[in-house]
Symmetry: C2
Subunit: 439 residues, 2 copies
């Protein structure tokens, strides 16, 4: 784990060590730009906190680095007893955040704080992206359950696991990935693959085999050969199940024109009195397709989605950054003249969220860290102080509940799938005066 760093974190550490840089700094994780929509749902903090608290340099790690010869024995020895003894303030997972607001503040020795950059960025950027995307898809599904089916498109094993976690935070009802169900105690679901159908002599035989094994929880994949024929075979099996006192739960569509097919399949099922059998759609769905399908009256009851779809325009990464904002009490920031967008607002900052009289979110103020602000609630709360964990990790159900509550408070204009209005984030007058004073 200790080597999950970009090498410059160690070379800078070496140079800091040589130069006797013992300053205490604050680094700030924030997102400059939202790739899709006008809000983000913060996710990934629990993994970041575990990393910060458990980062150790083992002898094997230090020996390996020593053999390479680029870093000095003295510097490597200084890493041997590394324990983070600083503090972390952060926005709880499931909280709405907006561009240029601090999401995590890490305060500690300069050499320590920079060690967390690579892991913090990759975990926060990825989970926040996925939680946000999932919330958009759940919104498009209008109350119908959405399940993560994305592991096979994930960028390796961690990505599959973390995407299941983040999509649950964003409002998904569960995942197909059993390991995520095991690790995070969230529902996992399974249907059948085309393989199961095509290796049997007939589709009907495949359906019968599956239904016999899962009398209370059978979903039949009906598009292997011909979807309407598949629906008729599903009806036969459903009737057989009824005769045994059981019920077919659902059928799944994974190809073709989902609007036309879902209507036809619904009619076939209903004509047999099987109105209780649900229709699940998968097949590379995103929020726009689901919105269009349901807007057109597709009788679909739930959705399986792989968020890393091939569609152009789906953002594959969130460009969050982790930037130095304060050093030994002095506000600092990058003030690039060549690319003003990449500038960093100097100073350690807090965010206050203001509500209107109806309790809906009205605007945010980004303030100096210790500014006394009489309105609104501060968003960043203590998580680690003096190297000790000072908050509990909520379970995923509670984080999801926070997301749902938060989204209810956000006016619809900011949540529209397209053409949403940006939410107002203002620099508090005190911060503004301060920035003008330092630049």
């Amino acid at each position: 784990m200790a080597l999950f760093v970009d090498y410059y974190q160690l070379t800078m550490g070496q140079a800091d060590f040589n130069a006797g840089n013992n300053s205490v700094i604050t680094a700030n994780y924030y997102v400059r730009e939202i790739p899709q929509g006008q809000y983000l749902i913060a996710a990934g903090l629990e993994q970041v906190i575990h990393y910060i608290l458990n980062l150790r340099f083992t002898d094997a790690t230090l020996d390996w680095l020593a053999e390479r010869g680029d870093l000095s024995a003295d510097y490597l020895a200084s890493l041997k007893d590394f324990r983070f003894d600083g503090s972390v303030f952060a926005v709880p997972e499931g909280t709405l955040v907006f561009p240029n607001e601090p999401i995590i503040n890490v305060t500690g020795k300069s050499r320590d704080v920079q060690l967390f950059e690579t892991y913090l960025l990759c975990v926060m950027n990825f989970q926040t992206l996925i939680a946000t995307k999932a919330s958009r898809i759940v919104q498009a599904a209008r109350g119908r359950p959405v399940f993560d089916f994305g592991a096979r498109r994930a960028h390796g094993r961690d990505a599959g696991i973390l995407a299941a976690r983040a999509s649950f935070i964003g409002g998904a009802s569960g995942t197909s990935l059993v390991l995520a169900g095991c690790l995070f105690d969230i529902p996992y679901v399974g249907t059948m693959a085309h393989k199961f159908v095509s290796e049997r002599p007939t589709e009907l035989a495949a359906f019968q085999d599956y239904a016999a094994a899962f009398p209370n929880n059978t979903t039949l994949l009906i598009d292997t050969y011909n979807t309407l024929e598949g629906a008729r075979n599903a009806c036969i099996v459903a009737k057989e199940m009824e005769a045994r006192g059981a019920r077919l739960r659902s059928v799944r569509l994974d190809s073709g024109d989902l609007l036309i097919l879902s209507k036809q399949v619904r009619r076939i099922l209903d004509a047999e009195g099987l109105d209780y059998v649900q229709i699940i759609a998968s097949n590379e769905l995103d929020e726009f397709q689901i919105d269009t399908l349901l807007g057109s009256g597709a009788p679909l009851d739930s959705f399986g989605v792989a968020r890393d779809s091939l569609r152009e325009g789906a953002p594959s990464a969130l460009g969050g950054v982790y930037k130095l904002v304060e050093s030994d009490g002095r506000p600092v920031g990058k003030q690039s003249l060549d690319e003003p967008f990449k500038a960093t607002i100097p100073g350690k900052k807090q965010v206050y969220r203001l509500t209107d009289t109806a309790g809906n979110y009205a605007k945010d103020w980004v303030t100096l860290w210790d500014e006394a602000v009489s309105e609104g609630q501060p968003l960043l709360v203590p998580v680690i102080e003096n190297g000790e964990l000072v908050s509990d990790f909520p379970n995923l159900q509670d984080i999801q509940a926070r997301t749902i509550t938060e989204l209810k408070k956000l006016p619809d204009s900011h949540k529209r799938l397209t053409e949403a209005t940006p939410y107002v984030v203002e620099m508090h007058p005190s911060l503004l005066a301060h920035v003008e004073g330092t630049s």
Copy 2:
């Protein structure tokens, strides 16, 4: 690891167990469509093979599944001694592959073969995507070194590690991720962050601190405040290094107009006799930007790239699939009438690659597995037979060398960054006759 499955792999296993399905099948990994360009570089096989050979269901795993109550005790007991005893034939990593060609054939008991689907797909799809993307970027860089700087944008830890591996396969010169350097014995590199500059009183002081620590390997990041001023500070440090008998290696640009700035910085360096100091560019570069920059004469010497860039149009996933093609010697496939694109060519298949008289690749034939073909070379070679590993894992340098050799043999028309011509992949007449006979 055993739970890194989509749940349907276990529910189908249960239904197969109940039905006494003991058939021997072949599943085939292939890619239907290339999201960008006209070729793919196969990557990820080593991880897949380790997974297949080492997949075990521990007592803890089986106990956890048993507690859930959905799978029967008999079926779970049958997983206790799971060992794959089948065979795997595959295209070696670093080999060019094209749409609808088999890349991996897994043959074994039906219930076993389906357990590998999720992991195989996520690892092959991701690494093949990244190796291919890296090869395009390396091509655009026209011989200049390209380094993977992507860990902070990766989808979690595994993604960072596997992307470093895959981009090296595709031709990258190294990575910023130390752990990947350690695991795969590939070069890792580091420069400095804006933090290192902005926490010091002056940029010059920061450069001096860094140069003192790395007299033989210093790269200075010169865009924290003003790139041209940064270049002049780099000159001062380079002269100080010369006085100590050392040399500044390079400066790095991470923002702004890289064409204009690189030319200005080159002039500033050259005017001081520092023509040996190289200029490195990073800042969300892809193959198109690098091609444009170099085509316009930007004096850039190497590139740091994060492949998961925010740019629209960069594919975030490869849609490779793992499909049943043969069961107990009978060719099978999905023949969707609703979406012909999603059909699978039935039968276990081999690929023969034909060369022209100059030794360049001319076309591929997809054949029946045991078809005697007198021309060309078969691409799928034995990796596992009867559950035993029968081939060595090449080191990454050798895989990269294979990629480079392969790309040399592919005519330029198929390699152009845009508007490339599709490579010809034909179904061999025998396969065609066979498919027509079965459909």
